[in-house]
């Protein structure tokens, strides 16, 4: 095997970064479809991914002293070209291992994700120190590493490339930071390409074919012609693997024929047929099936309150029957807002109501639409929120006190707000009760008149005026109104109405949810989201929290074992942790203030990575007293955490458009960039304080950084965010960074 020249190693590193980030996103999306899309699952999968890459870095450190780094890189690329296909198929086949149709629990998610993700993480992580050892000058030092010198049998080519390389000097001095920056380039490119191109154009399988081809080309670059048949054969295999895509997708839809499948930035949508029935699935979960008339309740219960000629705002889910039911009340105007444009195009296949002249569709975030409506002074008679339960922090924004205040502002004085929450036919267990209590408390703090109709689904009506039927029999009132309008229903029949408006059941649920001391669900304290996660864990087996606690403690133990050799590694670990917390908090804060805007979110993630790269470059330029710089960046990160916390607390009190624009286009991007800058700067400043083999320095630092990011992800998603909200996450980052500052201060004093 010839000696890989420096540009080839740079290409290899960039390819690893590029492929890692794209594969990560694809596998997280597949994991969500297999295991369910709540915050716990996303956090768990991302945490395992980071942990596996950190373990790979550790393995790489272990291997670079024993194996031939060039060969390791070559084999790594071959494996990274093929393994993602097996992982993708693995996620899709996994449901066959448990009972068909069953939602897997947290234990299955943990074991399944670990088994599937670890091989890729181990290999990609191990390639980083291997590449670093090839980039550094010590690769030629036979006394230092006998294994390395044995690799370069073509030493003439090696030396000539080494001498002639214009990057040589900088590479010698700054191998870890060089590796870090090149890896980041790859990641930025991968992130941008996936977010703005791949997700719209290709299936996941198709993207993996492209990634595999990149890896195989790099493998060809790194190897001698005698080895080229291996990547060529693998290239043939992956090119002809496309039919396996649909075959593996069918594992997720037993008894159904897939008619349509589409990737969108938000989910994997599918239309299937079982018998004559058409089903719509989002991330593997059935959303709607023909012959399901439960949407009747969503249309008629709120509309009988406002009568004909109303102006209606419908947030999400209209194509699945709600829109048709609303139209039966002859409204003047319907604004229908859907986050995912693919739902609207899919809706055209199953819903004719979209063509009604009074229906005006809008693509975007519902809360953002409401903000704009308030600015334009548009008022509605009825606001129907047809969203899933607050099962993640993004959805929780629609069930908070702040949201209800915004809803009140765009409703006419006689207007009604209507939404649903998970309920229970006969007994609301503690977490379901907590969920309903927190939302009810938030709602009653804003609206003086609230009615809750009980049942398997709880229907909430709120208004500033007394609601129809509040004092009398609401079932009778609704029935009378429907009869007046000559609206005949199939599901909302006498009995359904009688049951949901039964005074015995209504009084019981009313007294249960209207607890005096119940805390309201708010943007920054997402109680509803927490209760729903607890409910999901209860359903998934009861031992969920214990499994999560074990995962968090094991990750922390791993980090401790990885970093205990050196205090500076603990500082790197804390940077990884704080960086993840700050990035996540800022993204969530943006969503709370402005709504979920895919373009902005993708841009912010990219901006954070650019910040990392800029920080790394700055640290390479200013090299004086790296320990002082390390301490300075600790202070910066603590300040940033405090600033974000301040922004979170105060920003929502100001509604002036100019002020919000400054936050959107100035303050949040600045804070995101600043967080990346501080983390990247500190990583490189720390790397300047080590001497020895570049591969080991790089591997050790990557291990600490990724272990920190992994702990940050796991702790944040599994515990801090559900329990304490964004404030808890930011406080934890500030605390961790304060501890890191104390360590650095002690080191400076000792020096």
């Amino acid at each position: 095997m010839p000696v890989p020249k420096t540009p080839k190693i740079i290409t290899s590193l960039a390819a690893v970064g590029f492929s890692c980030v794209v594969t990560q996103v694809i596998l997280i999306r597949e994991g969500i479809t297999t295991f369910g899309g709540n915050e716990l699952i996303i956090g768990l999968i991302l945490g395992i991914w980071l942990l596996s890459t950190a373990s790979g870095a550790s393995l790489g450190v272990f291997l670079v002293g024993r194996e031939k780094a060039g060969r390791l890189l070559f084999c790594g690329h071959l494996l990274l070209a093929v393994i993602p296909f097996l992982q993708l198929a693995g996620f899709r086949v996994l449901p066959l291992l448990w009972i068909r149709g069953e939602l897997p629990g947290i234990g299955s998610a943990l074991i399944g994700s670990s088994l599937i993700l670890f091989p890729y993480g181990l290999i990609s992580g191990a390639m980083i120190p291997a590449a670093a050892s090839l980039l550094s000058p010590d690769r030629y030092n036979g006394g230092h590493n006998k294994g390395h010198t044995a690799l370069f049998h073509d030493s003439a080519a090696c030396n000539s490339s080494f001498r002639d390389n214009p990057f040589h000097d900088s590479l010698c001095r700054d191998t870890p930071s060089t590796v870090y920056i090149i890896d980041l380039w790859g990641e930025v490119l991968g992130g941008v390409l996936f977010s703005f191109l791949f997700v719209y154009l290709f299936s996941h399988w198709g993207v993996l074919i492209a990634l595999g081809s990149v890896h195989l080309m790099v493998a060809v670059l790194l190897s001698s012609p005698c080895l080229w048949p291996v990547p060529v054969l693998l290239a043939l295999f992956i090119c002809f693997s496309a039919p396996l895509n649909m075959a593996t997708l069918t594992f997720r839809t037993p008894g159904q024929k897939i008619l349509f499948h589409k990737n969108t930035p938000f989910a994997q949508l599918a239309i299937t047929r079982s018998g004559k029935q058409i089903n719509v699935l989002s991330d593997g979960i059935p959303l709607f099936s023909t012959g399901d008339y439960r949407a009747e309740a969503l249309g008629h219960i709120p509309l009988v309150q406002v009568g004909a000629g109303a102006r209606v705002l419908l947030i999400s889910g209209g194509v699945f029957g709600t829109l048709s039911e609303i139209l039966r009340h002859k409204p003047n105007w319907i604004d229908y807002v859907e986050l995912d444009p693919a739902i609207l195009s899919l809706g055209k296949k199953i819903c004719t109501a979209l063509d009604a002249p009074c229906v005006h569709t809008h693509v975007g975030d519902g809360r953002l639409f409401m903000k704009k409506a308030r600015q334009k002074r548009i008022h509605y008679d009825c606001l129907i929120l047809n969203l899933p339960d607050p099962e993640n922090i993004q959805l929780n924004r629609f069930y908070t006190r702040e949201f209800f205040q915004e809803a009140r502002d765009i409703l006419n004085p006689q207007g009604v707000l209507f939404f649903t929450l998970t309920g229970a036919d006969n007994y609301l267990e503690s977490e379901g009760l907590g969920l309903n209590r927190s939302v009810y408390a938030a709602l009653t703090q804003v609206f003086p008149h609230v009615i809750l109709f009980p049942g398997e689904t709880h229907y909430f009506l709120a208004s500033r005026k007394p609601l129809l039927g509040k004092e009398h029999n609401p079932g009778l009132e609704i029935r009378k109104k429907l009869a007046e309008l000559d609206i005949r229903t199939r599901w909302l029949t006498d009995y359904q109405l009688s049951e949901m408006t039964d005074s015995f059941r209504m009084d019981r649920i009313g007294s249960l949810v209207a607890e005096k001391d119940a805390l309201p669900n708010t943007d920054l304290s997402p109680l509803a989201f927490r209760h729903l996660l607890n409910l999901w864990l209860k359903k998934s087996g009861g031992m969920g929290w214990m499994v999560l606690a074990v995962v968090i403690v094991l990750a922390a133990l791993f980090a401790f074992l990885a970093c205990r050799q050196d205090s500076l590694l603990l500082v790197t670990f804390s940077s990884g942790y704080a960086g993840m917390c700050l990035e996540l908090s800022l993204l969530l804060l943006f969503q709370i203030i402005f709504g979920y805007v895919y373009l902005w979110i993708s841009l912010f993630v990219t901006l954070f990575m650019i910040g990392l790269g800029a920080g790394a470059l700055a640290a390479r330029k200013w090299r004086q007293d790296p320990l002082r710089q390390t301490g300075f960046q600790d202070v910066m990160l603590i300040l940033l955490a405090c600033l974000v916390l301040g922004l979170a607390v105060f920003s929502r009190r100001f509604h002036a458009e100019a002020f919000l624009s400054i936050i959107q286009c100035g303050i949040i991007p600045f804070l995101i960039f600043g967080s990346g800058l501080a983390v990247g700067w500190q990583f490189v400043a720390i790397s300047h304080q080590f001497a020895g083999q570049a591969g080991r320095i790089t591997g050790g630092l990557y291990l600490a950084d990724l272990a920190g990011a992994s702990c940050g992800t796991l702790l944040t998603s599994l515990f801090l965010l559900p329990q304490f909200g964004i404030s808890g996450v930011l406080l934890s980052a500030a605390l961790v960074k304060s501890a890191s500052l104390a360590v650095v201060t002690r080191m400076r004093k000792a020096r």
């Binding site: 550790s58 450190v61 272990f62 009972i99 068909r100 149709g101 069953e102 939602l103 120190p129 000058p137 010590d138 030629y140 030092n141 030493s155 030396n159 001498r163 001095r173 997720r252 037993p254 008894g255 159904q256 079982s274 004559k276 029935q277 089903n279 593997g284 979960i285 059935p286 099936s289 012959g291 008339y293 036919d425 006969n426 007994y427 609301l428 267990e429 379901g432 029949t493 006498d494 359904q496 015995f504 359903k539 031992m543 214990m546 606690a549 074990v550 133990l557 074992l561 990885a562 050799q565 500076l568 090299r623 300047h688 304080q689 080590f690 001497a691 020895g692 080991r696 630092l701 291990l703």
Partner: protein, 403 residues
């Protein structure tokens, strides 16, 4: 060349050392021993963490036999070493002292088996009898329905998992001894009492005592169950109940075990026993896509029912909706339910209904003249064309309890 390289490298290293006089040793200088040590530490830590909280969670709560919500079980066997064997359901749990049975509602206190589900229902409602579902049992009347938490099955699609997959010591309960149950049922003008929602067999003692008092007060008793009960316990129950709505989950033992954690044969025995003792019986068979929607299996089941229970035993095929843990399957297509209905009728059953589909399963048809004898909208009774249990039009007897 090699010499040149070494010189070059040494110079670079020297420069580096000069720049960083405070430089540190390379991190992550892992040896094989170190690597193994880390792995071992992780594994041991994980095992300890995983096991210790689990064992804590399995510890049982303390119970006092003088608690009014504890009642000595009616059917159990005392064994040596203060162990007992519960005889209420076919699980036949062998229970050590201070431990519970599989259902979580029977606890062994010093060699005596107690039910902890006595007089402490977690939910009560006054429901239309059609909701049980019983379409041939006093139509249009109300059943006072109650449940104590607990179940001897673990159905993945349970509609009431909040109360069935837990135990009475973990739910919000009411204090409602049997006499008060009867009083409340009378207060709400109910014709019957229904032991329902969770699994009635797990609060067997409470059910039997309440049913006895209800019968004395002229009320009917409805047993809504999975039918997983021992013949001995069923015999005693049959002396006080009037109707049973039995959920025959499947006609395959394999599916029974997979989806519900039980077995088929004991349920079939229950059906035969209930029928032979003259208890009014209606059977529910939920049609779950890819599990119980196999027409061959449905045909065999209907054949068995017609042969062993007669053609007049009503059979319900309700539509499945994704619930609890079985959320990755779509609802049952309506035409599958209609096919199942046709299959049942072809196998000789007179009354086969589709459930959970608006507008279907609302009417009882006379097996003689095929006219509608009971008409409903939803669960609301619209008309009853029966006189003394006979069709008003053709005088054919229609099976059920109608007075």
């Amino acid at each position: 060349m090699n010499q040149h390289t070494n010189q070059h490298t040494n110079r670079a290293l020297k420069q580096r050392t000069q720049v960083k006089d405070q430089s540190r040793a390379a991190p992550g200088t892992a040896t094989r021993r170190e690597f193994l040590k880390r792995g071992l530490c992780m594994t041991c830590g994980g095992a300890w963490l995983a096991l210790s909280p689990f064992s804590l969670a399995l510890a049982d709560a303390a119970f006092d036999p003088s608690d009014p919500h504890l009642r000595e079980a009616y059917f159990y066997k005392k064994l040596k070493s203060k162990e007992v064997q519960c005889q209420t359901c076919p699980n036949h749990c062998l229970i050590k002292p201070d431990r519970r049975g599989k259902c979580g509602t029977k606890v062994n206190l010093s060699g005596t088996l107690y039910s902890i589900s006595y007089g402490n229902p977690c939910t009560i409602n006054a429901d239309p009898v059609e909701k049980k579902p019983l379409l041939h049992f006093y139509p249009g009347t109300t059943a006072f329905s109650l449940a104590v938490a607990g179940c001897n099955f673990h159905c993945l699609n349970c509609q009431n998992w909040e109360i069935s997959q837990t135990t009475p010591d973990k739910t919000r309960n009411q204090d409602l001894p049997p006499d008060q149950v009867v009083r409340l049922a009378q207060k709400y003008d109910c014709r019957s009492l229904a032991y329902t929602y969770s699994e009635a067999t797990t609060f067997y003692e409470y059910m039997v005592d309440s049913a006895t008092q209800a019968r004395s007060a002229g009320l009917k008793n409805i047993y809504v169950s999975n039918g997983y009960i021992t013949p001995k316990a069923l015999d005693r129950l049959c002396t006080v109940i009037d109707a049973a709505s039995i959920n025959l989950k499947s006609f395959s033992d394999d599916i029974y075990f997979k989806l519900n954690g039980g077995h088929l044969d004991p349920v079939l025995d229950t059906l035969k026993n209930l029928h032979s003792k003259g208890v009014w019986l209606e059977i529910i068979n939920l049609v779950i896509p890819t599990y119980t929607d196999d027409m061959e299996m449905i045909k065999r089941m209907c054949g068995w029912l017609a042969k062993n229970l007669g053609p007049d035993c009503p059979l319900h095929f309700p539509r499945f909706f994704p619930l609890y843990k079985l959320t990755r399957l779509p609802p049952t297509p309506v035409e599958i339910l209609q096919k199942a209905q046709e299959t049942g009728i072809k196998e000789g059953l007179h009354h086969v209904y589709v459930g959970n589909v608006p507008g279907m399963g609302d009417e009882v048809i006379c097996p003689g003249c095929k006219k509608v004898v009971v008409k409903r909208k939803g669960y609301t009774l619209l008309s009853l064309n029966l006189e003394k249990g006979k069709c008003k039009f053709c005088k054919q007897a229609v099976s059920g309890r109608w007075d």
